[in-house]
Point group: C2
Chain length 599, copies 2
């Protein structure tokens, strides 16, 4: 049976060494994050997810959700009780605005908790997770009346929330939306259409579910510029806050999926449902991006979180399972065989997982801080810098975070040998669950296009130049310390490959946009190597300083230095190959006519 | 719903251009493979699997196998009828020896058919597939009586066959086997123990199943040198060939697995079952390797075959699905959106799949020819060369074939976006099914160790030197033709990286075996890049010659040249990075104590 222990020590190290949370505790917007509170969130939140949510992970996968004839949906055994505990203990309200009942904690702190919750039970975590996107949209774009009506109960978790974008004919290309919104005399709209792949679209965890729905008003143009956002409650809410009658929205079916069986992925039928415009008409895309950007960071975190729990189990299995002998002679001659731990190829897989997971944790938390600073930093320049960096790196965190999460989960399964393929050992579920994160909230290919097609060029390349400068500066500084000089030199080289690839895009993209498109994915991966490399530089630097000062747990800090070295020697070398692939351009990629693909 | 069309045209091209099958048709052992017969096998065999086996693939996955209280196992609906047709039409007997009722076709031809059968229905294909390993062991090591008793009905497919190696405590490390074989007065042995992960261990397709079982005789040493191989029929076979009473072997349970649900993976309980020694006592490992090497090539083929069918479907989906617009402006302005085909990142995924799959097909068929030549070539030197090459490349075909098969299946699923995650579309099954191939018959990490720990050094490195020479010679020749010169230059460069990595192992392996172990996986992948590269060189060379001569289908041949270029520009660049990773050595890989892995 799989196990899960929240990696509290590593989270603390990252918050100190990479994020530098203590530098902000006196700033407005960070006041709730006192060291004691943060410790309590990590310790108590970690305990809650490990004790309450994790035990439902395997059983939730096996039972899945059930839709009944009346369109209602039952979640797996234990989910309802666990959700009630979740709401009661307030874990969903950490970073929600205090005005609507939230605790007003910085986003970076709730990100740390989110990681633990997803590791413990991704399918469960998606129920409150989707509500967060809906909350973010209402906070940003809802009218004061809408906010007062819906937000307090959504923030507390008493009500759920969803994001309704996709339709059968329309995924990435939201211009193809067919769902219609007809204005009514009372100022509301009548919403009619079919939405698919709606996570947490219907369930038995809450009394009400607040759907945010993209639809088109009459005469709206046939493109993404014609879509509007509507709030559509499952159950109507009276002015006194009490629940009224059922709205005309129903779950038509639940999807049979590869994984995340514990979460109900619904086809939602809107049949003249009553909805209200959120923000301005035909400005739905902007509102949607508010939900979407938050969701993309959350999905990147899913990659990290599933990788972490799979990795933990693989380490334990490698310690327990005895098979074969060390290449250097029996490590434990008294036993019939040595543990898997002695085998260099097993160790390679575990080190690769450790380097990717701890690096991604740092990147996700650092990204969480940028979200805070974007809104809360006192200085204009600091806000702009944070907005630039997180805008640039959101597709990287989503794309590379989920690619690596899937790779790590697959590799952790591999450590188990044949047992990894067997359901009861739990590893194959992590692989199946991790797979969706590369697909939804914009496939990773869409992330790559967002990065090279939108983010690179915005404001004359201001964000990417700021990123290059940041990495270059920290490399230069780290070269002065002989504990980090080698790493800094290698990271600088990878940065050089990234800069060269960027120049290549600039030189070739104007004549041939496909040359950029054909290299987009490699570019995203390359930027992931460099940005996680920056995180490892910071971790190595902090570890070296602490060791020199005799602070902290020496073994833990030495492991950071070794893992940084592994990252430099075994992961960073891909940078050069990625650049060369990018420079291959579009010719061979785009040359074949469709018919020529058949073998 | 997924589709499958056997890639007959490409198989023919490979048999002509890469394998050069026509050069052997007058040789002994190849006489059955007349051009007409080979054509008939590809066309009719392809039709059989597409019409009879493929329609059972998705339903077989959903139904799975059922074990009943008496230990009997029912396969999914339709499997029994399809299997009867399979036996009746003789598709299982293609390359079996004529002495036992086989058709005596070359292995390379049956490999082509096997690919199609696995593509159509991997879980089904495993029933006869496992029997093939058992047949190979009996052909090589069985006594004339054993051969006469079992082989004719195993070859015809009337009886099944299995390989029983793994036990709960014992996977890779066969020295840990506990199953006991007690000699009996009548010359038989009484077999007692538990075997796990036995594919096709029990089912309703055949009247009898012939188990080949590894066990230890009394006093045998506690290592892999102490194991013996036994033949243990499920139902006793009387001297007249009729079936007698049930033997004391039963299916204790069937495993719940990530995929290949249509194949019954059994726990087999031997409770004083009657068995007979195959070959010599305590020489079981050598007999096991006969089964194993055949099985490993077959598993590499599974990677290719699942990649192929997933790829075919992704191409079709990309042609059908409309979403977004070409970066260069609307390709079909009259439609609401362009097809996925216009998007360079979708095209990149399809080209990557095409380059890997067609390259692997060539490598698997070329490998099949080496198996034939190893046994059937008239010239001693040719037999030795073939044996050396296939010995060296068996772990590469298994390891890289299944790694790429899984990657391609995952990427094909990615092309589908959200629909790829939904069961009914069929793509997620390919990913789940493909996953096992990286794990069983020796994990890919074990393959890598077999390559660097055994195969490289055998006979003073004769095999690897022969391989280097072969690649170098063909590169040198191809540089004279301006259609292949660029490719040859890039392949030569990759070969240089492989040679440098080999030298690095030689220079460092003696002092530190872990340095070799830590680089083994990258080395296997690097050798895969070069060996598939050699196949692409041959395909490009043939395509260029045929185009110049005005032979063949020009579009098909042009696609070969483009895909070879893609391989050179987008896949071969990894060679340098792999070498650098290898040269990172073992220090960072092996430095951490087990406790230091916890975050």
């Amino acid at each position: 049976m799989p196990q899960y222990t929240p990696p509290v020590r590593d989270t603390r190290f990252v918050l100190d060494a990479v994020v530098g949370l203590d530098r902000y505790t006196n700033s407005a917007g960070f006041s709730a994050a006192t060291p004691d509170t943060v410790d309590a969130v990590l310790e108590e939140g970690g305990r809650f997810v490990a004790e309450v949510l994790f035990p439902l992970n395997l059983s939730g996968d096996q039972q899945g959700c059930t839709r009944h004839a009346d369109g209602s949906v039952t979640t797996p055994e234990g989910f309802k009780q666990a959700y009630a505990q979740f709401v009661e203990s307030g874990w969903g309200t950490l970073s929600a605005p205090e005005a609507f009942g939230g605790q007003g904690m910085p986003h970076v702190v709730s990100t740390a908790f989110q990681e633990y919750m997803i590791s413990a039970n991704m399918a469960f975590a998606m129920y409150p997770g989707l509500a967060h996107g809906a909350i973010a949209a209402l906070v940003a774009k809802g009218s004061p009346e809408q906010q007062a009506k819906y937000l307090p109960k959504m923030v507390s978790g008493e009500w759920g929330g969803t994001m309704n974008l996709t339709e059968p004919q329309c995924g990435t290309d939201l211009g193809l939306i067919k769902t219609k919104a007809e204005p009514q005399a009372d100022g509301s709209y009548s919403i009619t259409g079919t939405k698919i792949f709606i996570s947490a679209g219907e369930h038995d965890l809450t009394d009400n579910i607040i759907h945010l729905v993209l639809a088109k008003t009459p005469g709206a143009p046939d493109s993404s510029k014609g879509i509007s956002l509507f709030v559509v409650p499952k159950v109507m809410v009276n002015d006194d806050g009490s629940l009224g009658k059922r709205n005309a929205v129903q779950c038509g079916s639940i999807e049979h999926k590869m994984g995340i069986h514990g979460n109900a992925t619904c086809v939602m039928n809107y049949d003249g449902a009553k909805g209200w415009l959120v923000g301005e008409e035909m400005k739905g895309l902007a509102a949607m991006f508010i939900m979407m950007n938050a969701a993309r960071l959350g999905v990147g975190l899913q990659g990290l979180a599933l990788g972490e729990t799979a990795f933990q189990n693989a380490v334990q299995y490698a310690k327990d399972r005895r098979q074969g002998r060390a290449l250097t002679g029996p490590a434990e001659p008294g036993e019939k065989a040595d543990t898997l731990f002695v085998h260099p190829d097993v160790r390679r897989m575990l080190m690769d997982a450790k380097a990717k997971i701890e690096g991604l944790r740092a990147l996700c938390l650092w990204g969480g801080l940028q979200v805070d600073l974007e809104h809360k930093a006192e200085d204009d320049a600091e806000r702009q810098m944070a907005a630039d960096l997180i805008g640039l790196l959101t597709p990287v965190i989503k794309g590379v975070g989920t690619d690596w999460g899937y790779e790590v989960a697959t590799q952790a399964q591999q450590v188990y040998g044949g047992h990894g393929y067997i359901v009861e050992w739990g590893m194959e579920q992590y692989v199946r669950d991790a797979r969706i994160a590369q697909i939804y909230e914009g496939t990773n290919g869409v992330q790559a296009m967002d990065l090279v097609g939108r983010k690179l060029a915005q404001n004359g390349g201001r964000a990417v130049q700021a990123f290059f400068k940041l990495v270059a500066q920290e490399c230069a500084a780290a070269k002065a310390n002989d504990k980090t000089a080698d790493f800094a030199g290698r990271l600088e080289k990878a940065l050089g490959e990234l800069q060269a690839a960027t120049m290549w895009f600039m030189a070739n993209g104007m004549q041939n946009p496909n040359a950029v498109g054909a290299g987009a994915y490699s570019y995203m991966t390359l930027m992931g190597l460099v940005s996680v490399g920056l995180m490892w530089l910071r971790m190595a630097d902090a570890a070296a300083r602490m060791l020199a000062a005799g602070e902290g747990d020496a073994k833990f800090l030495e492991a950071k230095l070794v893992t940084a070295r592994f990252y430099a020697e075994r992961i960073l070398p891909d940078a050069g190959a990625l650049r060369r692939k990018i420079e291959g351009g579009a010719d061979a990629v785009m040359a074949l006519e469709p018919e020529m693909f058949a073998a």
